[in-house]
């Protein structure tokens, strides 16, 4: 079975978060809210034996039949997916590295993901915690993401008895998640702050107000393409609404700083900035080989150009799509075979050239409507 067949039950291919809707979609790529939940009477992920994990998955599967809002969706057990399919789900940010496991070997029994078909929601089963309920939306939409996740949590908690402590709240494998089990994060693109060298101060400031930042793929990942994932650091001692509200306020503040930095760039270094943007566009439009990191850095320049309306013919949605479809497993999927890194770079450049050519030449300002969702 090919990866495409395996993932065909996935609603909307799990890509609705790319659509560039929602507030500040040119700066905020996506909003994610997740809740960590565990069942009573079973060891947590790291300590779980195979039969523990399988029991958790069985109980989850059983409640899908009874609970109305949970039943619509695709449940994908990791052990039934090819390595490439698992990596595609990771690249679409629908599952974590931990759930993918070692890409070369069969993943442990019991790991699975449920992708809801009527909300942009998913539940990872047997990750570090038994359940990770997460909502992923385009743009800055923290309150919406929290409402979706909250509703799903209510449903699941009615069906299965959660591990809950009157003082510590919802119990989790790692004490950094205990209490609400809530991690809200927003993926923001901050080239203005990086170019004006203000970013260090802003990130330092986030630390002082109880927030933290990570790279594109979450914990332990590096910052690429000027994308920063800002999230709450603590989970205990504040209500879910307060955590979400606080992050929302602070992110709006960061966006304001970013916009100020962009104005400074345009005022004091307009020609240099324009040159950077057009060079980035030119390289993406004509390069014959691109590593993913180089692509991300060039895309960052182009995204800034689109946001500042210096590159009129391009849509943010196109840039979002390029980010996802040029990752290794997606390129392999399109090629229908494994690709060594050097070949991958060639395929990546070809894909970008094709999409940019179709989208219209940035210099003419004529955009070609219609997405490229069919390629998924």
């Amino acid at each position: 079975m090919t990866s495409l067949d395996e993932l065909s039950p996935v609603p909307d291919h799990g890509l609705s978060w790319l659509e560039a809707s929602g507030d500040h979609a040119d700066i905020v790529l996506s909003t994610r809210v997740r809740l960590a939940r565990n069942l009573q009477g079973h060891a947590f992920g790291s300590r779980a034996r195979v039969d523990d994990s399988e029991a958790v998955l069985t109980r989850f599967r059983d409640c899908l039949g009874t609970s109305r809002p949970l039943c619509g969706g695709a449940l994908l057990p990791m052990s039934e997916l090819s390595s490439r399919s698992r990596r595609i789900l990771l690249e679409r940010r629908l599952i974590s590295r931990e759930l993918v496991g070692d890409p070369e070997s069969t993943p442990a029994k019991g790991g699975a993901v449920l992708l809801s078909d009527h909300d942009p929601l998913s539940i990872m089963v047997n990750e570090e915690d038994h359940f990770r309920i997460q909502g992923l939306l385009s743009g800055l939409r923290l309150q919406d993401a929290w409402n979706d996740v909250d509703r799903m949590d209510e449903e699941l908690g009615q069906e299965l008895p959660y591990a809950y402590h009157h003082e510590f709240g919802y119990l989790t494998s790692c004490p950094t998640n205990v209490g609400t089990g809530l991690r809200a994060s927003v993926l923001v693109h901050l080239p203005g702050l990086v170019l004006t060298k203000e970013i260090g101060r802003v990130l330092q400031g986030l630390g002082q107000v109880g927030l933290t930042f990570r790279g594109l793929y979450g914990e332990g990942s590096e910052v690429v393409g000027n994308f920063f994932q800002i999230s709450n650091q603590t989970t205990l001692g504040k209500s879910e609404e307060d955590l979400v509200d606080h992050l929302d306020k602070m992110v709006r503040q960061v966006i304001q700083y970013e916009n100020q930095a962009r104005l400074v760039l345009l005022r004091d270094a307009r020609s240099v900035t324009e040159d950077k943007i057009w060079r980035a566009y030119g390289l993406l439009r004509y390069a014959r080989a691109l590593s993913f990191e180089e692509l991300m850095n060039l895309l960052s320049g182009v995204r800034l150009g689109v946001s500042l309306k210096l590159l009129p013919g391009l849509r943010v949605y196109t840039l979002n799509k390029i980010m996802i479809f040029t990752q290794p497993a997606h390129l392999e999927q399109a090629a229908g075979r494994d690709l060594p890194p050097a070949e991958s770079d060639v395929h990546r450049a070809a894909y970008v050239r094709r999409v940019l050519a179709r989208e219209g030449d940035g210099s003419t300002g004529t955009a070609v409507e219609g997405g490229d969702r069919s390629r998924s």
Binding site: N38, Q40, G41, H42, A43, F44, G45, S46, R47, R97, E98, E128, Q143, N147, D150, D153, G157, Q158, E159, L160, P161, Y162, Y164, H165, E167, F168, G169, Y170, L171, S173, C174, P175, T176, V178, G179, T180, L182, V194, K197, E198, I199, G200, R201, R214, E219, G220, S221, E222, V223, V224, T234, T235, L236, G237, K238, S239, E240, E241, S291, E293
Partner: protein, 166 residues
């Protein structure tokens, strides 16, 4: 891309650092990264708990030596295992290591009392229901304040359904 350090091998580790508000990126091969003390395994980077864990049991008379031999009666995890991995074994560990965890939670979160959602288990007791109603009323108030009327209506119905019949 070749390694910035040795210039011969392919760079696989890209280290972005912020020092004095300056961002710098180093591209290193696996060997040079290891020589700099960087682990290339994704989980090993940036382990947020390690600093806090290193402090547990130090200068904290209540939680020193004897704590190491503590063992969870349900899953068998020892406190030392927890200190090594940063992960608890099961929900019962929270009772088994309560004293030690309380001081750790205070360091991480600044407190130990959960003030968010109150969980209503599948077969709730009267107190569970009462606590739950309090959270729902708080949510309702907030929904009205933020003019989320659809959500407010849903919450109001939920509260009505739970309130005891007078």
């Amino acid at each position: 891309m070749t390694c910035d350090q040795c210039g011969s091998d392919d760079a696989v580790v890209h280290l972005t650092q912020i020092v004095n508000n300056q961002i710098s990126t180093l591209h290193l091969c696996e060997k040079c990264a290891a020589a700099k003390g960087l682990d290339t395994a994704p989980e090993a980077v940036n382990f947020p708990l390690s600093n806090f864990l290193a402090q547990t049991g130090e200068g904290d008379a209540a939680s020193t030596e004897p704590a190491k031999d503590l063992r969870c009666s349900f899953c068998g995890l020892t406190f030392q295992d927890f200190r090594d991995t940063g992960r608890l074994g099961c929900p019962h560990c929270y009772s088994g290591f309560e004293v030690q965890l309380r001081s750790l939670l205070r360091r991480i979160h600044g407190g130990t009392q959960h003030v968010g959602k109150v969980y209503l288990p599948p077969d709730p007791s009267a107190t569970d229901v009462q606590k739950r109603l309090e959270t729902l009323r708080r949510k309702l108030q907030r929904a009205v304040e933020t003019e989320a009327f659809e959500r407010a209506a849903r919450l109001r119905d939920e509260i009505r359904a739970m309130e005891p019949v007078r």
